[in-house]
Amino acid sequence: MTPLRLPRAKPAVTLDEIRPELARIGRRHALHRGLSLGGLALLTGCDLSTHSGVDAALWAMLRFDDWVQAALFSRTRLAQTYPASAVTRPFRFNAYYAEWQVRETPPGWQLAVGGRVADKTPWSVDRLRQLPQAAQVTRHICIEGWSQIGQWSGVPLHVFLRRVGADLRARYVSFACFDGYSTSIDMPSALHPQTILALDFVGRPLAPEWGAPVRLRIPTKLGFKSAKNLQAITVTDTYPGGYWENQGYDWFSGS
């Protein structure tokens, strides 16, 4: 069987952009090698929040890892799928806040679309349901290490992006949520067939705690990338970051 070769999309990060950083990292590594266990004790304070050179090196290494991950990513390689009987029950709630703080869908909610798209008309849930739908039973892997299997269905993001006339050569797709959360992904991952705007969870319309009325479900990335309670989708060339990413979670976080 010949693997299907799609034209490689523009990578989110190119080698030229990070070359000065790589050179700096190389020098840092030489420094690291000179440090013994005693030096290690001095490094344990570096947690991405200080302005030390070591933290700067760690941030640079995260960008390098993003570049490696973008290179490893395949638009055609699929996350493993499971039978519906494998769905984890009870399904674990997770957010940057406690479950009692979950927000109901605001009255008159519509999904806003912005940035490099031709059609910026907002979308209602009913209109989203009229688009082609896809279902999946996949493993949701949290950056913390735990994982669980869930069942989602909704509109493939590539269908949606083409429908709104998005510039598919743009670098990022960013997601803003009405619970204050935000995240962003690279365009190749956005166009992956298993990346969907989920409307249902285990056969029912999404409940608020599972991300009502629309959430992103992207099994080729860690769980925190599957943003819940969406408010706006923006196609952009400007690095959008995200709630966790800005604090130091690895941006690409591909699986």
Partner: protein, 214 residues
């Protein structure tokens, strides 16, 4: 080729540990320590055993910091490990020093060790050492392989499947860490008992003549 080629000039002996081995040992040691301590920070975010590691013992301070250290230093460990495996195979280091001993030799040397009768000859590897060093190299390889599997369970899905899927691969990764930690306890204890082995791993001091041919 004989296992121990005679020195060209009498009195000038080979170093107990060749320079490449000493460099790769210390780079690897630092990398493994960073990987272990940052791994503990990651483990603490969702412990799969009924304990967590004290924050002061971890590297990175919190989950994101731990991951940043982990996926930065992994390149150092990876490069050092590949260089060591290539060097070990090409130079004869593995064949000469780490070839797994027979069970009888292990029992003999283990008994001698536990009864305090095993003399340590710098530059020579007894059966227990061979077993431990081969074991820790295997454990580090397992940690790297399972680490790649849980870092990329989709892109390296075949590797993740080899370890029985994501949850099992994650547990094996933890088990490999525990094996490495246990090795470190034994290794550091032995170095404390024979401090001149530490000197030999830093400076290029000559190997000692073997006690007697076996």
């Amino acid at each position: 080729m004989s296992a121990h080629p005679p020195p060209a000039t009498p009195g000038i002996r080979r170093p107990a540990h060749p320079l490449p081995v000493r460099i790769m040992h210390w780079v690897g040691a630092a990398a493994v320590m960073c990987m272990m301590l940052s791994g503990w920070a990651i483990y603490n975010a969702s412990p799969s055993l009924p304990f967590t590691f004290p924050r002061s013992l971890t590297l990175g301070g919190w989950l994101a910091g731990g991951i940043a250290w982990h996926i930065s230093v992994m390149w150092v460990l990876f490069a050092d490990g590949i260089a060591y495996l290539l060097y070990g195979a090409a130079s004869g280091h593995f064949r000469r020093n780490l070839r797994p001993p027979g069970p009888r030799a292990v029992i003999r040397d283990l008994t001698a060790t536990l009864t305090g009768r095993l003399g340590h000859r710098l530059g020579h590897y007894n059966a227990v050492q061979r077993l431990l060093y081969v074991g820790v190299i295997a454990a580090i390889c397992l940690a790297v392989a399972t680490g790649l599997a849980i870092w990329k369970p989709v892109q390296l899905g075949w590797l993740c499947g080899l370890f029985g899927g994501y949850p099992l691969a994650r547990h094996i990764h933890l088990a490999a860490m525990i094996a490495i930690a246990l090795f470190l306890v034994v290794h550091v204890t032995m170095v404390a008992i024979f401090p001149r082995t530490l000197v030999a791993m830093v400076a290029g001091i000559p190997a000692e003549p073997e006690e007697n041919a076996r």
